[in-house]
Amino acid sequence: MKWGILGILAMLIPFAADAQVTFSQLAEITTSPERLEGRFRQEKYLAALDATLMSTGVFSYQRGKLIRWEILEPIRNILELTPTAMTTMQADGEILRLDSASNSNAAVLGRIFFSVLTAEWESLSNYFELTGEIEGRQWHAVLVPIDAAVMQVFSLIELTGGDLLQEVILHEKSGDRTTIRLDSHR
């Protein structure tokens, strides 16, 4: 598993040496529509077990307001993120709400995920340093945390996309890794 991360890091070197991508450049080429919806496919690699958990579902968002993340397989669950709260709704109707004020750690993770998905580069610049490259309309960005609390969780985040975000890889400090592929349509 360590080799996995090192491998990724090695892959990143050419990017890092390449053009210095800035958050504002990314902001220029990516579009962040008011509303968006689509399907996702997620693979969560659990380092301790050397196993991968798959899940699929649909998502939608209203920029700056709400992200709805509905897992359809293998369990059913809806996660709603707003800039200030995180709500989980289970199949049996149970609702669990976390305010960002009462739960700062989860709130930061929620906000980062929110910013990643809705391409809020400005907000991400508070937590990460950016490297990456742009080729025509395609781009690849690597976010390395600079915030200690974020470092606790993520070792780095990779984002790939064109007009819209296509792939997110969240590398966790624990060695776990979550890869999300998005198939969006407006």
């Binding site: 301790a48 996660l79 049996d92 200690a148 966790e172």
Partner: protein
């Protein structure tokens, strides 16, 4: 005669020597002032445990200064906060500065409770397991495992139910703060704001410390004005500084004003400087001697004693004035013989009146009584021994003012044999007593509040932003051991939660929520074991993992049996930092812990808390605001009794000498006091402790007035002396009525009205 003066001289010198010795002894011991309200609590009432706990809580508050630094630009504010912190921590007046959380601290905070995840569990999870709602917990765990967010610090093997995440996720910091770039960022504010908490290296009441700290902060603000829009502050230091500033301004205006007034009056009357110095000399000796004696006896002078004691000037100046005025019409040889009986009786009655509270259980009143007795005696002795010596060669020449003032007095009607006047005086007396009787007393803590409204408003806004809503109420839980105390807390917490859900109380912070009792932890472990037994297979089935990982997960849980978070371990944790003060450090019980209540407490909430607490031995609800109000009430009632007892006592003593003429002496201060209270009630004030204390001074000055007048058969020079005494006291203390500080305002207003009335009523009682 020569040898007589020689003896007087040696006695006078011996007296000064005694004064010097007492002062030296007191100085060697060191000057110490006490301003704690709690040290005024009556001894019979002093429950040491409650006092220790209250002092610990208020000390923690009073040594803290909270800063919130705000600015438009996130990056600039951050840089400014870092720079400011570096500069502030260099101040010797600041012992600690909490403004960042280092990476290693974040790691520690994030992980330190992880080993105890099976015994220290989230209360919500505990309730679900106890209710048999296992499925909800596993569904939540699965949602996390399959969700997009990282499951940090938990793993499928070590903590498949995410017990640790549940614990951390639901633990409230209590503050609207999150760690951002290692700094403490205030959430929910319009512009970026960061928190800093200063711990002062000394008392917030120290003027030097106030200046250094507040100056440093304002210098930093000015230097970085481009980055920093505002610095919000909250803490005892600000109130202390505001109070000191107000006191200084008032001393500068009211104090200097009255001093100039007194000097001008004395110069106008005596037309020389020497009498002025002669007046001040015994008064100064009296004040210094009394302070020194109090230090020697009580080791600390309470500020309330000092303020009240300073009022003695008004009484002790009587003796000197009486002597000086009489000296102008009598020779050096005869003057003392003439006035000595009056002086002695004046001192005796005052000592009786002022000394009475020494018998009460109230330490504050006892100090005041002792201060009065020592101060008056010292001033009196100085007058008797020194003034004849110093004024031996002074001219004997009647003062013109005395005659004019006496003429004015003669214009007053005489009460005796004037039934209309008697009726005119008695009729309002009945009305006055009636209105006093029907008035409500005021024992409000706000009387002691001296801070300006703008400061209070600013502090309130800042506390709202930060989400601080601590109240002055807490529950003290004492027991034979810390474990037993925590178990009691856990019983209480379930009851308090109900009150919280009903909205009766705002909330609470209990030690047992962070550090459960070992008994509770063992229970929790057993509950988790049932959860594993019921749900682990299901989770592993959904995740579809090989069977060996299932047995590994089971083993991890089983092997953690007996792994409990002991109080010793807990105290070593980084996360216990802000909560250690919930254990009472100095205690008379083997162990005592605190549940801090938050938010305002209504009177119905207090009643409910009381009834909960009463049913549990060793548990006390401590309401500091109410305690202080109760204390003020007790003191007021004591002071009322004091006034009445003093009048009765004085009446008897004076009866022995003056027989039926005693009414001429006692009536003016008595009537004046009743009228004063009635006027205060009509002005809309509730009668409070400070009104009563002022009336005791009115009594003292009024008595001296009557005694001296009777002794000299109402000679013009005596009338001048007592009028001057009333007038100087009026200038010195009556002007305090202009003060913004409630305590001084009430004190001054009462003296102003009271003394004026005494002076106006007195001539009505004259014999000749």
């Amino acid at each position: 005669m020569r040898s007589g003066i020689f003896t007087l001289k040696s006695v006078a010198l011996a007296w000064l020597l005694i004064v010097a010795m007492v002062i030296t002894l007191a100085l060697r011991q060191g000057l110490a002032f006490d301003s704690s309200i709690l040290s005024l609590l009556p001894e019979s009432d002093q429950r040491p445990l409650v006092q220790y706990a209250s002092e610990q809580m208020s000390k923690d508050y009073s040594e803290r200064l909270i800063l919130v630094v705000s600015g438009e630009d996130e990056q600039k504010v951050r840089a400014a906060v870092r720079l400011m912190a570096e500069n502030l921590i260099r101040l010797p007046e600041i012992s600690r500065l909490y403004w960042q959380v280092s990476d290693s601290e974040i790691t520690r905070l994030g992980n330190e409770l992880y080993p105890y995840r099976f015994s220290v569990i989230d209360p919500g999870i505990r309730d679900l397991v106890r209710a048999g709602e296992y499925r909800q917990i596993s569904d939540r765990a699965l949602a996390r495992i399959f969700g997009p967010l990282p499951v940090a610090a938990s793993s499928i093997i070590e903590d498949p139910f995410g017990l640790y995440i549940e614990l951390i996720g639901h633990s409230k910091s209590g503050l609207n703060i999150r760690i951002s770039n290692s700094l403490l960022r205030v959430t929910n504010t319009e512009i970026p704001s960061y928190l800093m908490i200063l711990t002062l290296n000394g008392s917030p009441f120290s003027g030097e410390l106030q200046r250094q700290v507040l100056n440093a902060i304002s210098v930093q603000h000015k230097l970085m004005s481009s980055a920093i829009n505002s610095i919000g502050m909250s803490g005892m230091l600000l109130h202390a500084a505001a109070g000191a500033h107000q006191a200084k301004t008032e001393i500068a205006t009211i104090g200097i004003g009255s001093l100039i007034g007194i000097i001008i009056t004395m110069l106008l009357v005596f037309r020389r400087f020497k009498p002025l110095l002669l007046l001040l000399f015994p008064v100064a000796i009296g004040c210094i001697f009394a302070t020194a004696m109090i230090l020697l006896i009580f080791s600390k002078v309470h500020l309330v004693t000092f303020a009240f004691g300073a009022g003695l000037v008004g009484v002790s100046i009587d003796y000197a004035l009486h002597f000086l005025c009489e000296r102008r019409v009598s020779s050096a040889q005869t003057v003392m013989r003439k006035i000595f009986p009056g002086l002695l009786l004046g001192l005796f009655s005052s000592i009786m009146a002022y000394g009475a509270p020494a018998l009460t259980p109230f330490p504050g009143l006892r100090q005041m009584a002792a201060f009065s007795v020592f101060g008056l005696s010292a001033a009196w002795i100085t007058v008797v021994l020194w003034l004849p010596l110093i004024t031996g060669n002074d001219v004997q020449q009647a003062l013109g003012v005395a005659a004019r003032l006496s003429k004015l007095r003669q214009k007053f009607p005489k009460l005796e044999s004037n039934p209309v006047l008697i009726l005119l005086l008695l009729l309002p007396l009945g009305m006055a007593i009636n209105s006093i009787w029907n008035s409500a007393a005021q024992d409000d803590i706000r009387l002691l509040q001296t801070s300006p409204a703008s400061l209070l408003a600013q502090e309130k806004a800042l506390q709202r932003d930060l989400g601080i809503s601590s109240s002055a109420g807490f529950i003290l839980v004492s027991a034979d051991s810390l474990e037993a105390s925590l178990q009691k807390q856990e019983q209480l917490v379930s009851l308090l939660k109900k009150l919280e859900q009903e909205g009766t109380i705002g909330g609470f912070q209990a030690l047992s929520s962070t550090l459960p009792s070992l008994k509770r932890q063992a229970e929790n472990f057993a509950l988790v074991q049932t959860l594993y037994g019921s749900q682990l297979a299901y989770i592993y089935d959904v995740i579809n993992l090989p069977p060996d990982s299932f047995s590994r997960a089971l083993l991890v849980q089983e092997n953690s049996q007996g792994h409990l978070l002991t109080p010793e371990i807990w105290q070593q944790l980084t996360g216990s930092e802000g909560k250690k003060n919930l254990i009472v450090r100095q205690t008379t019980a083997p162990a005592a812990t605190i549940i801090q209540l938050t938010g305002q407490l209504s009177s119905s909430a207090k009643l409910k808390l009381m009834s909960i607490v009463d049913s549990m031995p060793g548990v006390t609800f401590v309401d500091q605001v109410q305690n202080i109000s109760d204390l003020m009430k007790k003191y007021r009632v004591q002071a009322e009794t004091w006034v009445i007892v003093a009048y009765v006592f004085v009446l008897f003593v004076l009866l022995l000498r003056y027989k039926r003429q005693v009414w001429r002496i006692v009536t003016p201060p008595m009537l004046a006091s009743v009228y004063t209270l009635a006027i205060l009630v009509q002005l809309g004030y509730g009668i409070n402790l400070f009104h009563m204390l002022a009336l005791i001074l009115v009594l003292g000055i009024g008595l001296d007035m009557g005694i001296f007048l009777t002794e000299t058969d109402e000679a013009p020079h005596t009338w001048l002396a007592v009028s001057l005494s009333a007038f100087t006291s009026l200038l010195a203390f009556g002007l305090l009525a202009l003060s913004e500080t409630p305590v001084l305002h009430h004190f001054g207003l009462t003296i102003a009205i009271g003394l004026t009335l005494v002076w106006l009523i007195s001539p009505l009682m004259r014999k000749y």
